[in-house]
């Protein structure tokens, strides 16, 4: 039996094959990245400044998980609790910024020249903290 294929069709088949392979590679990489990103939470300050001001003490929790998570947040100055949030809910794949209330921030900045500002975040799965030595 003689099989004949049009030349353009042959090129088309080859291109489809090539692009299918490339698209598979792209899809696999994207899926793997997405899956890997969904496994961790980030706790970090918004900026690296060590001055006592609103932006310097602002931090964020990045919930990369594919579901809403509930966190307990403790804010400590020189290891003494000054504020807390319990049942702080962050929806799936969302970042929430947290900052001190202005009154409390002003009080802290005025009263203390050097201090350790610490944010502790925990739930059943994680217990993470970040801190800055403000001066």
């Amino acid at each position: 039996m003689q099989i004949t294929i049009n030349k353009n069709l042959a090129i088309l088949i080859s291109l489809i094959f090539l692009f299918s392979a490339m698209y598979f590679l792209y899809w696999k990489g994207e899926t793997d990245l997405k899956r890997a990103s969904e496994k961790f939470t980030v706790l970090a300050f918004e900026n690296a400044s060590l001055d006592c001001n609103k932006n310097s003490l602002k931090f964020f929790i990045e919930n990369n998980l594919p579901r809403e998570k509930e966190y307990e947040i403790l804010i400590l100055i020189n290891q003494e609790k000054v504020a807390s949030h319990s049942n702080f809910k962050i929806p799936a794949r969302t970042t929430r910024f947290i900052e001190l209330e202005s009154v409390l921030l002003d009080k802290i900045c005025q009263e203390q020249a050097n201090f350790k500002f610490e944010a502790e975040v925990k739930n059943k799965e994680i217990k993470e903290n970040i801190y800055k030595f403000i001066n």
């Binding site: 590679l25 890997a36 980030v42 706790l43 690296a48 030595f133």
Partner: protein, 347 residues
Amino acid sequence: MILIGLLVKLTQPKVDLELKSFLKIFVNKKTITTGIVVIIWFILLRLPSYLNLSAIETAVGSPSKSTRIGLTVNNLISSTGPWRFFYSIIGILFLLFITWFILKKNKKIKFNYQIKKTSPIEILVATSITLGWFLMIFLMSNQPGLLKIDIISGRIANYLTYPAAVLAGFGVFAIIQPFLIKIKNQALILIVFSLIFIPGVISGLSDLSESYLEKREKFDKTVETFRASEYLYQTVPEKDKILKDHIYLTGDTWIKNFLMRGYEEPLSRSLMKRYDPINNRETCTRDMVAIPESEIAEKCFAETEVRFIILRNGYDTKKFEESANFSKIFHTREVIIFEKNHANNYK
């Protein structure tokens, strides 16, 4: 080049007559203009980093480390890709074979491979440039001692991919072309092409997957390293120096994608054997991580102006956590970033 030259001598005694056409390939308006532009670029705009004296001194000499003594042929096959390497060898054989037959004025070969250009000089130049490119990089990565090259062999081997790809093209052409000439059934041609091409694609994809994705856990950790690097890229001014840990951080080399702000940046705490006194290298990158509270490290922080340190969570992080000289500004389950307090005072 020498081999090709000998071929010419053997087969073309009157080659001197073609010297003019040979010279024309290299000395013409286009090459002279390009050469002048390149020289002006180097002098007036920027000299490539690999041409400065310190880079040349570092790269020339007998191999000084185990990573610079050359890769085995098996290593080279694996880094170039088995499929590409196989067809590049066929490409080399084909080019030598075709050069020989063209010089011998074999009409059948010319017809089979549809070679219309018959100037032996042009064929020789095309062949020798491609082969010379491949063979030179092959020797540089396989036998660096012979050429007095003191660069990491694995790094040179990466560049073998390019001439190998060109030669593999010749290799595939060598196999397919006789079918194209003799067989009119396009389906059969497509099948032959697929038989060559599909293993190449599969081989390439499996190489990629084996290089990283095979270990799910490792990949997951690398993504956290990516996130930490992205954080520093977005948060930290360009002037601030960063130190990363190569020993424990997963996928730390990728940090350069985000934070390569200079040739040697970010600084890296390397494997301990690299700090062996015999290597006569700096030890600050080691001391700033291992003994951050010491006087030595303090001097190093002042010298290097390092402000941020990226470490793997739980690995050499305790001393930083116990110190009042470092703030912890970023935390995931795998990666922690510390900031040196008062780092700006050094500047």
